[in-house]
């Protein structure tokens, strides 16, 4: 695996673009016209080679006012997307404002879908303020810092999430800020030593 690191950026050259990458990239290109976003959780691991699928792409977005959201909602509709949640645009916006998540898929499909939520807590805020740009050919996506992804996956705690954390550690251990990783692990009260994650 060849990854090129620049401050705030990782370039993956010569990567075969999957249909899932295409789905995510097309959606994020629309989304970034309306607000900042950061992709967290499962898709981040898949982007760097983990051989598994995902039903949804967890995405945190900065606050959008209602007019901007309405405009985004209308744009999505024109582009062939729909919201799985049985709400009109006002109901969807209320859900986001209440800290709930909304899901968006291409028409006539359920999966994969994009799960959107507004920034809610300090970890969300850190993710979006310090997001990493991943450049794949002509396309780019923004992901959560790996130093937060690993502890967050350990915090989620399912077998699959722990496997994801271990995978990210194995891929990035020479490149990430281990001290920062340690601070997040302490903040989330998780330990990785038993899985070989040494901080």
């Amino acid at each position: 695996m060849e990854l090129k690191y620049e401050p705030g950026k990782i370039k993956i050259e010569n990567k075969v673009f999957t249909a899932l990458d295409e789905f995510v990239s097309d959606f994020m290109k629309l989304l970034e016209g309306y607000t900042d976003y950061v992709i967290v959780s499962g898709y981040v691991v898949i982007l760097f080679g983990r051989a598994r699928g995902t039903e949804d792409i967890d995405t945190i977005i900065r606050y959008m006012d209602k007019d901007t959201f309405t405009s985004f909602y209308q744009r999505l509709s024109r582009e062939g997307y729909y919201f799985l949640n049985p709400e009109d645009v006002n109901g969807l916006y209320e859900m986001l404002e209440e800290g709930l998540r909304v899901r968006i898929a291409k028409e006539d499909t359920i999966i994969p879908n994009i799960e959107l939520k507004f920034v809610k807590d300090d970890f969300d805020r850190y993710s979006i303020d310090n997001r990493l740009e991943v450049v794949i050919g002509e396309k780019h996506l923004f992901i959560s810092p790996i130093e937060l992804q690993i502890p967050y996956k350990l915090y989620l705690g399912s077998d699959k999430d722990i496997e994801d954390a271990v995978y990210l550690w194995d891929i990035f251990k020479g490149e990430i800020d281990v001290s920062l990783l340690g601070r997040f692990m302490k903040a989330l009260n998780v330990r990785g030593k038993e899985y070989g994650i040494e901080v």
């Binding site: 695996m1 060849e2 993956i12 050259e13 010569n14 990567k15 075969v16 673009f17 999957t18 249909a19 899932l20 789905f23 898949i46 760097f48 080679g49 983990r50 051989a51 699928g53 039903e55 949804d56 799985l84 949640n85 049985p86 899901r103 006539d108 499909t109 359920i110 999966i111 994969p112 077998d159 722990i162 496997e163 271990v166 995978y167 194995d170 891929i171 899985y195 070989g196």
Partner: protein, 64 residues
């Protein structure tokens, strides 16, 4: 009836495979690991049209 399945041992083996697989990904060029991954992911995406749950049932399932 006895189930001879050690969950802990199974998880340990799965983690060993994750390490093994990650080392392989790190060793080979991007076009090699990503081509193999794409075959798997693209097959999931093709099969996604067979996901016959309604949006309502799906949301009920994921929000549990």
């Amino acid at each position: 009836m006895e189930l001879k399945f050690d969950k802990g041992e199974n998880f340990k083996e799965r983690l060993e495979f994750v390490h093994y697989y990650a080392e392989w990904v790190k060793r080979v060029p991007n076009e090699v690991w990503s081509k193999q991954q794409a075959e798997l992911i693209d097959s999931f995406m093709v099969n996604a049209i067979n996901f016959k749950m309604t949006p309502e049932k799906y949301l009920e399932m994921v929000n549990k």
